[in-house]
């Protein structure tokens, strides 16, 4: 984070600002440091067709965790799904929870696990940042920003 905005503030306000920033920084590391999310993207289809959310969830911590679901203010309904292909016939299965062992990662990727996001609460466009919260069995939550991408992105 750049210090320039702080330097532009009136001299009296600076110490308070510094403390405030420090507090934000600390609380952030306390709640979110356990897990890492990479490549979060949301493949947007036209109209109100369901979108697919893909990401890589890494658990660098020393405890096992269980992903139990997701939610987004931009959608009325978010489900965890898995695509299965049996004898050339493909279908989707709801997934209630996914165990993620310590040090492991799980990939939500085309043809496998995906978030299925339905019933948009507002209009969305390619390039938008969309907030999604992941829920875990231990009560932990993690906010992720998904970038909305075109359906022709693989």
């Amino acid at each position: 984070m750049s210090l320039t905005p702080l330097a532009r503030l009136p001299r009296m306000a600076r110490p308070w600002c510094g403390i405030f920033l420090l507090l934000i920084g600390t609380s952030g590391t306390l709640s979110a440091a356990e897990l890492k999310v990479n490549e979060a993207r949301l493949r947007l289809l036209p109209g109100d067709l369901p979108a697919a959310g893909y990401f890589i969830l890494v658990n660098p911590s020393e405890t096992n965790i269980t992903l139990t679901g997701a939610d987004s203010p931009a959608f009325g309904n978010v489900m965890m799904h898995r695509t299965v292909n049996q004898d050339g016939v493909t279908r989707m299965q709801p997934v209630a929870q996914i165990e993620l062992a310590a040090g492991e990662q799980i990939e939500f990727a085309p043809g496998g696990y995906h978030l299925m996001l339905m019933k948009r609460t507002r209009s969305l466009a390619i390039g938008d940042d969309i907030e999604v919260t992941l829920f875990f069995a231990n009560g932990q939550q993690q906010s992720i920003t998904f970038r909305a991408v075109s359906p022709t992105i693989q």
């Binding site: 493949r43 289809l45 036209p46 016939v89 359906p151 022709t152």
Partner: protein
Amino acid sequence: MRRWIMTAFASLWLVGCGEQAWQTKDISGLMPPLAFELVDENGNTVNAERFLGKSTLLFFGFTHCPDVCPTTLARLDAATQRMDEAARDDIQVLFVSVDPRRDDPETLRTYTDAFGPRFIGLTGDKEALEELTRRYRVTYGYGEEDSNGNYDVSHSSAVFAFNDQGEARLLIRDSDPMEAMVADLERLAGDT
């Protein structure tokens, strides 16, 4: 000497000067030619003859499918983007929705437009869809409706490819590498 030349010619013929093997699954002679009567994106009844003259890729799916259908269509788009322009223009993709209850012509048009001008949406009534899916020995079915009225549709994940005469040529699967698809589509575009 003459014998040696004959052998050389024979082996050249065997390795196939010109006639290389398809890299995805060859279904020539195993599947019937393209034939159907369906409804297009404008609500008009169309049959397969209308699409002859270009190579056709046929895929069964539904627009409320967030994962497999867009992934397959995106792969087809990526493959055609890698072909030379002339060959690319010979390819059309028919996306046949097996979910006519939700996929009206308007929804289909907006959906296929998102993938580009090469993609054409079709659907039909139960009878037309059953006839077409039986013809290519694929199945589809409807999952249970949830409290939101949403339901899954199981469908074939493969893409059938036909030459510009509507003769069946290839079955392209999710697992086929991109290079194999591009090579075969280029060859298909030159196949008459």
